[in-house]
Symmetry: C2
Subunit: 475 residues, 2 copies
Amino acid sequence: MVLNIIDDICIKVAEKVTPSKEERDKIERLTKEIIFKLVNEASKENIDAEIRVDGSIAKDTWLQGEADIDVFMRVPPTLTRGDLEVKCLNIAKKAFEGYKIVERYAEHPYLETWIEETRVNIVPCFKVERGKWLSATDRTPFHTDFMKEKLNDVLKREVRILKKFMKGTGLYGAEIKIGGFSGFLCEILTLYYGSFKNVLEAASNWRKKQVIDVAGWFLGRKEEAYDLFDENLIVVDPVDKSRNAAASVFESKFWEFVSASRMFLKKPSLKFFYPPSQKILSEKEVSEKLSKANLDLLFLVFGEVDAVVDVLWGQLYKTENALKNFLKANDFKVFRSASWSDEKEVNVILFELERKNISSPKKHMGPPVEKHKESEDFLVKHLYAEDTVAGPWIERERWFVEKKRRWSDAEKLLSFYLSNNGGRSIGVASKIAEKLKKNGFQILSWIEMQKLYNNKKEFAQFISRFIDGRPIWLE
Amino acid sequence: MVLNIIDDICIKVAEKVTPSKEERDKIERLTKEIIFKLVNEASKENIDAEIRVDGSIAKDTWLQGEADIDVFMRVPPTLTRGDLEVKCLNIAKKAFEGYKIVERYAEHPYLETWIEETRVNIVPCFKVERGKWLSATDRTPFHTDFMKEKLNDVLKREVRILKKFMKGTGLYGAEIKIGGFSGFLCEILTLYYGSFKNVLEAASNWRKKQVIDVAGWFLGRKEEAYDLFDENLIVVDPVDKSRNAAASVFESKFWEFVSASRMFLKKPSLKFFYPPSQKILSEKEVSEKLSKANLDLLFLVFGEVDAVVDVLWGQLYKTENALKNFLKANDFKVFRSASWSDEKEVNVILFELERKNISSPKKHMGPPVEKHKESEDFLVKHLYAEDTVAGPWIERERWFVEKKRRWSDAEKLLSFYLSNNGGRSIGVASKIAEKLKKNGFQILSWIEMQKLYNNKKEFAQFISRFIDGRPIWLE
């Protein structure tokens, strides 16, 4: 019964995500134009570049209406890295003069442009032998070739369904912001397990240190993979046995996929592919939920950070984590935290605290009485100290004392340390610390955030989701 | 320099604690009268009882003005325990007809009476061979004989100084209420180390599993003592190698003596023997200190418990400890607790809480996602539960959820469980549970305790000391 439902759902999804004849024609036309322009410009500059389409367009695994055209410029490894970055980008810039061009940066720079509402990425790389990588993107053409050889039409359909499932459950995308599953990863999983349904069935039983080795690099020597890779999900890159293609999947996303797979198999639904859009709570609803739960939200807000998107998110997550640990180390109970950014002018790091104020004292454990010197030092330090509230007294074999806290207000604590060198000493990431130091920051309560809540729909969605605190596929 | 100060102090203390000629004469006269009466009455009843004085009077180690006359009635071991309890007490009752007589109970019953403002204890026991104990008090005459043989006048003086030091620092008394050092223990320590100052010098270096074996039972076989006794202070009874004469010393009191010894040797002062009387804070001062510290006090108050004093205190401490653990298990932070009793009509158990109310939710950890069945159960339980505040969500490899607490108010929590069978299920001691069940109880805040505070000076002293939270010798 359930199987038929799943098949029905797959049919419906496949129908929607398979590109139409018109879209294919358009993409083909666009691709040819782009290649022509780049080849032309490269020959003018006398650069021996192989211009080729890679990514989901090349492999025919893109989702209807969501085509990105990835064009690679493969230059001889005799060029320097500097040549690669400067010359190739110049060729691309000239080829697309008149179009809006954004310079982007992953492991190395690339260009993004938009042609007929389609995003085009132009990525330079070295044309190397397999394994002799000079830059991270040198692998991509090998990935493309590997997949083109393996994927037939049936598998392509399954890849598309899996990709859509990942999108619907919020698990799609290798970028740092998401920490989810890349398109390539979806292809490998489909190839390895044979179908969308098989992937989900396998995933619902995945364990820690799950190894997926589609090219059989570690056949019969799985232990070696464990030595090489630290992650819980190990998907050995079929063109590079020393790379985990799933290295950028966050641990939580790995387990969210496992759990979403189980849920879908148990109760299949189109909602996993087409989730309801996040309901935005009214300001009043948020306030009520917070006061009912009796929790405090604390927002660290600051402006534009001078970093490309991936670096920005890396810095946000690093800072979020450091500040959470810092608050915990100061006895504030942090239940959850999250980061939000419009990737332009506003960045927000959010902490959910049991209480923003803990004005009660701290019961502080001293040394065992047996330790003469330590006990004496403890007494000297605390007996007549102004911040001693009660004690010292002996409990069982140790000294104890009740101390007033230095920091009873989380807001003041953060303000103080963030004002000092942008919070570098408490783990704020470098570019964010720079920003805080230069342009300052705000530490706000929910009430003070309501203006942003009203002005930025995405922020309101983010907060509404945070308040629920569960993955969208669990609704 | 310090040595001379100590010697000076000892001279002053010894002068004050050595009984005067008048007191000695009075005690001697009283003792003779008491023995005469008892011998006379025993012969009337045809009981072959050896009537003798034991304790500090017999050993000449009592403190001036604080004489208790301990008279032992040693009967043949051919009598039954019942005979011992009934016949001996009847003899004593007849001998002191007309005097106020209180029946008391330690390990077995004894009588307390007051003659010329002097407390007299009449204790029946069996006249057994050493080691063939039939009741706990059978050892006492052996203790007396042992000490009488060993103590000379110099040592008696040192014993008296040590006893006074114990009294002044709140460490004197083997009764459960105190859990401190008995007079006999003070004698053993003095005998073992040779002088008051030597005892303190040794004590200031005492370690865990300190063995004091004045009779040399375990000479060269200290490890055997470790196997036999669990306590940190092991003072092998010189008349019974299987008994730790310090078994009833609380661990905290052991270490308090260690610490007080160090303090005295470092800064000798008469204050250790004659501490200032506890200053009673005004109600307003208490209120201010509490509000400044931002801590809540919670008082469990109930009436007379049907138990002799030692049993009462045992029950109070047991209940205090159980309720503290129960509060902690329900996420209330209990910094300190204490018990107070007038040993008649009012009993109080007191908890110092970070907060009486914790209305914030609880972050509840679920199973690892890897565990399929457990995860499913967790989701079924929490996903749509009314008391789920946020989540469930996945953090690293586990499920988490925010739950509303069942018990956010410590007062209500205690009330509920204490109302159910007197709190037996949460560890309230039997006789107290009986009392709570029969006559009820009150759970009160500081404000509600102010009437008792004004009416009972000792309670006010107790609270004032509790607020300071340090041993009196640390002031």
